[in-house]
Symmetry: D3
Subunit: 181 residues, 6 copies
């Protein structure tokens, strides 16, 4: 029911259980593409798994521990984005995102993440935003790079993907830097 | 962060803890006006009480047991409205609402409630919507009457308001009736 | 173990898990008869479901949110009756009841409900008692009518029974009225 | 509301929160007498403590872990008795009891405990009932001795009473023995 | 990871889930021997049951309600021993133990239990330690007798072992007695 | 009660509530020194706070989400060390540690951390161990550097210390690297 408008085409929607079936179809239609970089694809076997995930993110939102939303492009659900973790001791948010392959290449995700950052620094009063992406995942890394994040390090073998570890690049953006843009 | 647009002026916002202070001020500024018909005014003593209320409605939303939102008029919080209860055994939603005195008389609440009913019948697939209003509360009763609800009964002494009981009028709207409008 | 004596023949028993098998048999023996007006019959498939129901009503009793008891006629369990809800904000109790077909017509349920009302007004200090019965359910409606309740309204399509909605009649009795009998 | 009749004068009542005030008064009126053998007297400072105790025993009853009731003598609350523990792995119940000093010497408690034992062996199908009493507490020990329990041992320093330990005598009664009476 | 050294050969280990498989094998290899006196053997069907038991004892340890450890003999897990219950109202601990048949007869368990008693009286400041053993279980009874416990009673039919009840002998040791050794 | 021996002088102890007073004294005696780099010092006001912390780490240990132990030097508690987080999805452990000022400079912490790493790779089968230290905290950074960790990045303003943010250096060690030492 509730959305956060990004621009004329794009909105973030707080998913509810009624979105479970649609979210599952989105995942199921692109399994091969998604599982290259996302660890939860094989565990998403039925629409009930997607509903369980939605209940989880609603609970995280209620407890202010996370904030994950569906990405709507002209009203159609095409992925999710948001803060996987919110660390209120240190005022840090960690952004994660994924999108259906067919919508890549139009700058949609960059606009979504920019909106999340605006919200985080202006409304949530966070001080630092972090994005982690696999070293080899060029598409994912392009987002923070385009948005002016600083590459702060490369943590080795930091994520297990079904049968192998991947290295993650850490990108950071501080509130004071974002304001200067 | 998340809103549901009603029209150009009006929106429903899923409140989060950051709205607690504003919600409290809204209540605190109109205590005398609000307590004539609302039983929770005296128990709302500080902004922490408003934050606790917001946590409660977020929890209800997460569990699909209720759906209460803030009413924004040109971006300003002026009241709340939504489903106090959602009865999925019988597909019934019970709507409740209140608004700051200064914004009365512009049809705002009628538009808000109409949007809630549209959402409930179209998206939530409810079958019946109920509104209860005190017999003497003309302003509150005007909403369902304007929207074509059927007056189904008057339950006597059904609500305790600080020092006296009031009778409540029950209004009902069925999905099949709403569609015919 | 614990009972509330109504008169020489009738008693109300706080059911415990040991009553689960008997309660299930009572239900199972009259499925067709009971399911005409009771929504939970099809969901009661084994004695474990009846035990689960008993645990639920004991929990409600412990938390003072409800009070449902077994009806004993000359020591034999023939139905249940009690307060499905206890609303301590407004001092309202909602009475529900059902009984095996073979014991109908002897005024047993009227005596049971009269005892519940006496207890509610005298001991629990409630102010209002409500009974809801399906419009077409003459037997159930006869109870509040015989006891002098006021018919306060008819809420349409307020209960879902397996494959259709039924309208409910609301009856109300106030503490001040009962004392005058 | 619910009672278990012992005989014409005596009944066991499942206490509810409304009994909290009466139970507290009973305790408060006999502090010196009761604290000689009961470890919980000093911790019972207000009626809220008694209500908390009642909630606790209702919860134990709901979970079938214990069964403690109020003793009514001609309708007046004069003490409590019941099963402090119910061990369903070994089918053992442990009986505890106390009573106002003024009602001592009439065989009331013996009749109460006999009724509890009847219930435990016949309805709960327990196999063994245990009573523990302080070695020096002649009044308490008289109950199991009068009812034919076997003295099975004396466990030393097994209970702490405010400022000293006391030895406890263990009495046991088996189902097969009780039937032979 | 964490152990409590008893002497050069023997240690007590706080079991963690990684020990589940080893603990299950130990049980599974001696089913016939163990089930003569232990009631939980038949319920231990897979390594998951042993892991569940380990989670249970870790939870008890965390809440200071019990303290059960694995017995290591030269680094090999050969049984468990510890406090099944810790009663902080009366400062009593109840010791329980079992060991693989092949390691019997070397005084291992006596040394383990002596270490537990030392710890309980010196560190936990308990006042009384209790051991219960089946009347016919000579091996188990030999431990408290060798350590100077007082035999305080015999409680009849106090434990159910699959198809029959056994009598238990109660042994007690007081802090003041232990110090005099 | 339970310890993990590091060498003749040093051991790791699983703290229990009885250690709360000692742990608090250790903190209280070095407030100024500790609060330069540790964010929890000001929140540790009484021994109850230290006991609460111990209950927390025991709960984390029970749920296998963390493993924090007390450092004993010749039997005296001088600090804590362990895994603040255990990430079983990616097999990563994050090590944290602190020690009383008076024991610095003897290589104690290096030996402790080496023992933790040995345990993590050999017993817990982790794949990666991470240590984060403030950029300016030379003493803390010396530990991973001495043990051959790779410096993988510097995350800016990643920790809030009372009134300012500090940058953290990330060090990583992989299982395959540790084995080659």
């Amino acid at each position: 029911m509730f959305i956060h408008e990004v621009d004329d085409d794009i909105a973030l929607k707080l998913l509810d259980e009624n979105d479970g079936e649609t979210l599952f179809q989105l995942t199921d239609n692109s399994r091969d593409y998604l599982r290259e970089w996302l660890p939860w694809v094989d565990g998403t076997k039925t629409a009930d798994d997607s509903k369980e995930f939605i209940r989880h993110i609603l609970k995280m939102y209620t407890e202010q521990k996370g904030l994950t939303a569906g990405i709507l492009f002209n009203g159609q659900l095409i992925g999710t984005a948001g803060f996987n973790t919110l660390d209120w001791s240190n005022n840090i948010g960690t952004i994660g995102y994924w999108m259906d392959q067919g919508f890549q290449g139009n700058g949609i995700m960059t606009r979504v993440v920019r909106a999340l950052i605006d919200y985080a620094f202006q409304e949530l009063k966070l001080n630092r935003i972090e994005i982690r992406a696999a070293f080899e995942n060029r598409k994912s890394r392009a987002i923070p790079e385009r948005l002016g994040f600083t590459q702060e390090g490369k943590v080795r073998q930091a994520e297990w993907l079904y049968d192998h570890y991947v290295d993650l690049v850490i990108y950071g953006m501080l509130a004071c830097e974002w304001e200067q843009n």
